[in-house]
């Protein structure tokens, strides 16, 4: 298993009340796999994604990356796992040029020795992400949502991570753009063997891309479906969360 979490719980304080967002969730993602985390809005799937990345510290439960438990994220861990957030308008520093944002991981990890090296790396990943060079020198406000999301993806992938959490990366985008982005993600996966945890509430999309799917509801993982099972499932039963309860495989 590349990445897994066991019995993760998390609650947040909202005003005076404590809201339990995750109630003992366990999921796992294998190498080169696209795992979809499906659930309606507010079910805790985003938080679970962030727990896996250790961006949110779980109250209870354990997170393993390559079978070592992660308690505090190390530099290596941060290099190997990445996040593609939902809202491309928010995901880039509005004061930076796209180029700088894409190059940021290199700079943070000190991976590019010279300016040229950096530029080459950025240009390469940008091309893979479908960005033109002119885009690199603009500010986020001058680009469309699809272009921004490409930049975000380029930034996430520039370090060639092994595991990426895609948190509804296309929910704010048009279908034609969504198709392009998802295609691109899939292409990259083919080339690099990266694993995705793809969070979405769009069943059709999930069906189209998933190798495996977890269904979440009310802070719990209520089911796990394999690709074949997913194909067979009727839309209506999914919406009503009438899913076969599958015991965790770990």
């Amino acid at each position: 298993m590349l990445m897994r979490c066991v019995n993760v719980s998390k609650s947040f304080k909202v005003g005076r009340r404590r809201i339990e967002v995750l109630k003992g969730c366990s999921i796992a993602v294998d190498e080169g796999e696209t795992v979809v985390l499906f659930g309606e809005s507010g079910c805790g799937k985003t938080t679970l994604g962030r727990v896996l990345l250790m961006l949110v510290k779980p109250d209870a439960g354990r997170v393993f990356f390559k079978d070592t438990e992660i308690t505090a994220p190390t530099r290596e861990f941060r290099k190997s796992v990445q996040l593609i957030p939902q809202n491309p308008d928010e995901a880039l520093n509005p004061r930076w040029r796209i180029y700088d944002s894409i190059a940021e991981p290199l700079r943070v990890h000190g991976l590019a020795e010279t300016m040229n090296e950096e530029f080459d790396a950025v240009a390469a990943i940008a091309e893979k992400a479908g960005l033109k060079e002119e885009h690199l020198h603009r500010k986020p406000s001058e680009l469309s949502g699809g272009e921004l999301q490409r930049a975000v993806i380029a930034r996430a992938l520039i370090l060639e991570p092994e595991f990426v959490v895609c948190d509804e990366p296309t929910s704010m985008l048009d279908v034609s753009v969504q198709a392009a982005i998802v295609r691109m993600l899939m292409d990259i996966q083919k080339r690099t063997g990266v694993s995705y945890l793809f969070i979405t509430h769009d069943l059709e999309l999930a069906r189209a891309i998933a190798d495996r799917m977890y269904v979440m509801s009310g802070g719990r993982v209520t089911g796990e479906l394999r690709k074949e099972e997913l194909r067979e499932l009727s839309r209506e039963s999914l919406i009503r969360c009438e899913l076969p309860r599958v015991s965790a495989r770990f």
Binding site: D174, S176, Q178, A179, A180
Partner: protein, 305 residues
Amino acid sequence: MLKVENLVVRFKSRVGVVRAVDGVNFDVVSGERFVFVGESGSGKTVLAMALVRLLPNNATVTGRVIFDGVDLLKLSEKEMRKVRNCKIAYIPQNQASLNPLMKVGYQCAEPLVEQGLERGRIMRKVSELLEFFGIGHRFKDYPHKLSGGMRQRALLVMGLSREPEMIIADEPTKGLDAVKREQVVEAFQKLGRRTLMVITHDLPFAEKVADRIAVMYCGKIVEISPAREFFDCPLHPYSKGLLESLPERGMNPIKGFQPSLVNLPEGCRFRERCDLSTARCAEEPPLLEVDGSLVRCWLYADEMC
């Protein structure tokens, strides 16, 4: 019932004049469900708002919008208010369209109050309608207590309550997840045979609701087809691309990026992204009739000849 001729909407902006809607012609027949689809930036919302003249002051609208034989663009503001109130119900996008400080029931009743109906009747009517859409118990709640789907239904009630001749719904499924989208679909199916014009980017939704589909791209209508034909066999390359982008249809993207509205290509606006484009596409293609559909593409001009 509604006939739109050569509608043009221009916005003055810092970068120049934006033609958000550029020469749109269509008509909606009484009792029909007419759905506009298109991606963001195609001008569909602007078009809808232009019909009921709700655009902000920096927009200029030209052309003719003939409703029941009257050109809406020529009406005085007062007469137009009456049209909005009694004849055409515009249902805006649901995100923040309800006044946060007013109870849902009252907001739904407001147009009827404006019509001068008697209080008891209004109450009865509105609560019946809310009940009909399954949110009767929310009559005295404030909008923030409602979920997105409920809000959309409340907006529908607001539109229906005044018994309009036509309803224009703008992006009724925007920002809703699958479950809530389903609720809205149900609500729309409950509407019965009313003249309905829906603006949406959600193709599955359009499929469930539409009698006829119009596709907009960069301010122009590129295709108007009966719904079944459209989903079975779209005519315009853009329509094809759009449908093929759907996850369930293989997720094949259209190449390239949508051009910005300020800086549109000459001739066919889709030509730079189109695999089938020819030299002729540099000229503006006409709107051609093909088998009961209308399509704006040179491809079909040849067939005609």
